[in-house]
């Protein structure tokens, strides 16, 4: 949809699917999935070189996408800010997926630390895309802090549970004017389509692709689902009715066999 770009911090993007590289263990599989996804943004993490086989950064560039470093594994604003500074130096980008986790079992964000880190990073010149809960008030706080987008979760990271509270995502949509990107919880294509139908501007998927039996095929499916959901969202769904409403008019119906119509 070249006439319907996604604009984040003044940057025009054709794809509304962001790909997370999390969960990929083979570079060739990742590259195939990236190509099939059409994604122009790929998240990466920073880890000690011994734990990080090289080549991912180059693979993302070869695929024509830009790197979106994250602060995965950070549990405080201070730690997240330090990681962000390292990421900016490593990848020569000020864009950042900000994650400040509050609990290692649920991996839910720590809202207080998240807003604190967002303010600090925006002041330091970062383009901040925060991973957050599906809370419209917090979404507005993050927009007020200067975030370039807001990324509410559909369900816990890696759970594949889809969008547990569609109403909350719709409320987040109403709450902010910056791009809303559904992050975390996507399990399959229908989840991504639903996110777009609820008014999200984009979807970020990692595990849904990397742990699918066929990551390349799932990446292609999510691409189609995001496009379909976007078009459907703009087309306007019909209202939900309690009873059936015949699409064929009764007027002019022939009188046959004395049929009753209860």
């Amino acid at each position: 949809m070249p006439d319907d770009p996604l604009i984040i911090a003044g940057t025009e993007l054709r794809s509304r699917l962001l790909l997370g590289s999390g969960g990929f263990h083979r570079l060739d599989r990742f590259e195939a999935a990236l190509a099939a996804s059409g994604a122009e943004i790929v998240t990466v993490a920073l880890r000690r070189v011994e734990q990080a086989p090289g080549g991912l950064y180059e693979a993302i560039e070869r695929g024509g996408a830009r790197v979106l470093p994250n602060t995965a594994g950070c549990y405080s604003a201070r730690e997240a800010v330090q990681t962000a500074q390292l990421a900016r130096e490593a990848f020569e980008t000020s864009w950042l997926k900000l994650e400040v986790i509050g609990d290692r079992h649920t991996l839910l964000p720590d809202a207080v630390e998240l807003v604190r880190a967002a303010r600090e990073l925006v002041a330091a010149g970062f383009v901040v895309l925060p991973y957050t809960t599906d809370d419209p008030v917090l979404a507005r706080r993050l927009e007020d802090a200067g975030c370039a987008a807001v990324m509410p979760l559909g369900s816990p990271i890696g759970s594949g549970l889809g969008i547990r509270n569609p109403h909350a995502i719709a409320l987040c949509r109403e709450a902010v004017s910056v791009p809303l990107i559904l992050d975390a919880g996507i399990g399959t294509a229908s989840d991504a389509a639903l996110a777009m139908e609820l008014g999200c501007d984009a979807v970020l998927a990692a595990t849904a692709v990397s742990r699918a039996r066929d990551p390349e095929a799932m990446a292609g499916a999510l691409r189609l689902a995001v496009e379909a959901g976007r078009v459907a969202s703009r087309a306007g769904r019909i209202p939900r009715l309690h009873h059936a409403q015949a699409s064929t008019e009764d007027a002019g119906i022939p009188d046959l066999a004395d049929a009753e119509r209860p």
């Binding site: 000690r48 011994e50 390292l86």
Partner: protein, 68 residues
């Protein structure tokens, strides 16, 4: 001089710089996508040669990995 690189002790020359620590960690000399923190503070790539290490310096040498 003993320094800690990514949690492991290394014995480096007394005039060692951040670039030497990057090599000790196993990252390529010209490898892109690598970042270094010396005692918790980012050292810009342009300063790797000019930044001397000190006894018991703590370094983190990082690169991109799958995540998020």
């Amino acid at each position: 001089m003993r320094v800690i690189v990514n949690g492991r002790e290394h014995d480096l020359a007394t005039d060692a710089t951040v670039r030497d620590a990057v090599a000790a960690a196993g990252a390529g000399d010209e490898e892109r996508g690598v970042a270094v923190a010396l005692d918790g503070t980012v050292v810009r790539r342009a300063d790797w040669d000019g930044t001397r290490l000190h006894e018991a310096a703590r370094l983190e040498v990082l690169r991109a990995t799958a995540g998020g």
